[in-house]
């Protein structure tokens, strides 16, 4: 079943980000309805862009469209002296009106193997204690959730995931670690995430994945994309090591 998204009923704002980008804002909070619109526009622009289009960056509630003002002006100004911003926002309005969402299209589900606890998850016990449960329960809750990738940002391949159970939400560490190892799976407040590259950070680390979330030599370079659904699959230390051996 293909259904018009009825986007015209909601207020969609077009805001300039400087002289070379338009932000298409679908809302002001995080929810799956807004997210579906973000995803639909992103997909549309991937396959049907316009002359002068550089790239688009989906976020929680907006899609930012970067363009080359000169090419836009030369390609689409029909003598009415419209500014590049006006031209691109008009095109975006037209595209948004026509956006359709294929209700039956299932999101891509990506399973990420995680070795919980031990040296890979030094804060797992803390998370369990904080939430008055056993570490087995934390693992069970974390690995039974389905997490929507709202956007990729902060670091290459880093997913902003929605859907962490409040039962295992845990505040950040009071003193951040200088370096979080690649592949670390962590919790910060009501967010969960995976570190694709090594960075400093204050997340509670509950496990580690041997899967590479950022692969610069691949196209796309990120394992995950906005709109995917992530499932964490518990693995043993042995399986972790085998996985690493086979992928290296």
């Amino acid at each position: 079943m293909i259904q018009r998204m009825g986007l015209t009923e909601n207020k969609i704002e077009m805001k300039p980000l400087g002289d070379s980008a338009v932000v298409v804002k679908f809302g002001t909070d995080i929810n799956s309805v807004v997210h579906r619109k973000v995803k639909a526009l992103t997909l549309k622009l991937q396959h049907h862009s316009f002359k002068g289009f550089i790239e688009c960056v989906p976020a929680f509630a907006s899609v930012t469209v970067f363009y080359n003002p000169l090419i836009v002006k030369r390609s689409y100004d029909t003598g009415k002296n419209k500014s590049p911003f006006d031209i691109v926002s008009f095109m975006m309005e037209e595209i948004v009106k026509e956006l359709v969402e294929d209700q039956e299209e299932n999101p891509r589900i990506v399973e990420i193997p995680v070795c919980y606890g031990g040296e890979y998850g030094p804060d797992l016990q803390f998370v369990a204690d904080e939430n008055h449960m056993s570490i087995e329960e934390v693992i069970k809750i974390h690995s039974s959730g389905e997490y929507l990738v709202y956007m990729i940002g902060f670091a290459p391949g880093f997913p902003y995931l929605g859907g962490l159970s409040e039962k295992i939400a845990t505040p950040r560490r009071s003193s951040p670690r200088v370096s979080i190892p690649v592949g670390s799976v962590g919790i910060a407040g009501n967010q969960t995430g995976v570190y694709p590259i090594s960075t400093p950070g204050g997340w509670q680390l509950i496990g580690r994945t041997p899967a590479a979330l950022f692969q610069p030599e691949h196209n796309p370079p990120s394992l995950l994309a906005s709109g995917d659904v992530v499932k964490f699959v518990p693995i043993t230390v042995d399986e972790y090591e085998k996985y690493q051996e086979t992928t290296q």
């Binding site: 805001k15 300039p16 400087g18 989906p58 976020a59 970067f66 003002p69 902060f154 694709p196």
Partner: protein
């Protein structure tokens, strides 16, 4: 044909116009801080305008040329010298085999660009030769240049042949030779205070009225905590009228965001792809090269222009560059 890095200096890396198309995967754009200087440095010697260059920061870099090479140096005047003799900027230069090009000190500006005819023979990663320093990706082995690195050149373009031939003919015993014409570099001048043109940012209205006034009336200084990722400014502390939650969304080069401490940050080439701090302003594209050439300690003021004005300035700049391209193509008949 190649360059050998004798000393890398403060920071030297390979940069082109940036890595576009991968921001949705969190991959930063990188690229030359002063994209205007990079484009001109390429056009001067018959390259495509987006070829990769060596971006030299402030001082200390020295490079040896292993063959007679047609090059251009643009950007800030970091007192480039070949075998001790000052080299002119913003022109094609033929440097003799074995000669050493050194950047000794900043007279004006912060970054210089060295291009070679044909460009550097370096693999593209995600469609760009730019170095993503923190990610260890792209450029020369994913890192800044180090002593002993040898950077090979690609085949020279046909467009550079007449220039190469004429300069070579006149070179004689000198270690380098140049021409009597150049592209003027209005944006890298030494003045005590600069005015940077900005468009009001997405969250401008959320700042307190005094902060909004101060932003345009007071001076800001570039702090030493400034790099390719962004410039941290000191000046009046900018406060929101009321705190509010902002969802992370895309930022752009020249976005001025204000974290909780009230000190604005100008996001530059190595910025993250998205951000969640309120954005007080966005620098007009044509003034980004000016900002790229600022050094820690220098002071700036912001001046508001409309988005329409910023667009006009952008289109005018592109038209000027087209005229430069035409002028350079015609130069072959007057060599």
């Amino acid at each position: 044909m190649s360059i050998k890095v004798i000393r890398p200096g403060l920071l030297a890396s390979i940069q082109d116009l940036g890595r576009y198309g991968f921001q949705k995967y969190g991959v930063i754009v990188s690229g030359a801080m002063d994209s205007y200087a990079l484009r001109i440095a390429n056009l001067l010697i018959g390259n495509q305008e987006g070829e990769a260059a060596i971006e030299v920061t402030l001082m200390g870099t020295s490079l040896q040329f292993e063959e007679d090479s047609l090059i251009a140096i643009t950007g800030g005047n970091l007192s480039p010298k070949i075998e001790g003799e000052a080299v002119p900027l913003w022109r094609p230069v033929l440097i003799k085999k074995g000669s050493i090009l050194q950047f000794t000190a900043s007279q004006s500006g912060c970054r210089a660009y060295v291009t070679v005819a044909g460009g550097f023979d370096i693999p593209q990663i995600m469609e760009s030769k730019s170095t993503y320093l923190r990610g260890g990706i792209g450029g020369f082995k994913g890192r800044s240049l180090q002593a002993g690195d040898v950077l090979p050149f690609q085949e020279k373009t046909k467009a550079s042949a007449p220039l190469f031939a004429r300069l070579k003919q006149n070179l004689k015993n000198r270690s380098f030779g140049s021409v009597e014409w150049y592209v003027p570099a209005g944006h890298v001048m030494n003045t005590s205070e600069r005015v940077i043109r900005v468009i009001k940012g997405m969250e401008f209205d959320k700042f307190s009225s005094s902060s909004r006034e101060q932003f345009f009336e007071q001076e800001f200084q570039i702090t030493p905590q400034s790099d390719r990722m962004g410039y941290r400014l000191s000046g009046p502390e900018l406060q929101l009228e009321q705190p509010f939650e902002l969802l992370s969304e895309a930022v752009a080069e020249g976005t001025i965001q204000v974290p909780k401490d009230g000190n604005p940050i100008i996001l530059l080439a190595d910025r993250q792809t998205t951000g969640g701090y309120p954005r007080i302003a966005q620098i007009s594209s044509v003034d980004l090269p000016v900002v790229a050439q600022l050094k820690p300690g220098e002071k700036i003021r912001f001046k508001e222009i409309t988005r329409e004005e910023s667009e006009r300035l952008y289109l005018k700049r592109e038209q000027d560059i087209e005229e430069i391209k035409t002028g350079l193509s015609l130069k072959k008949w007057s060599l």
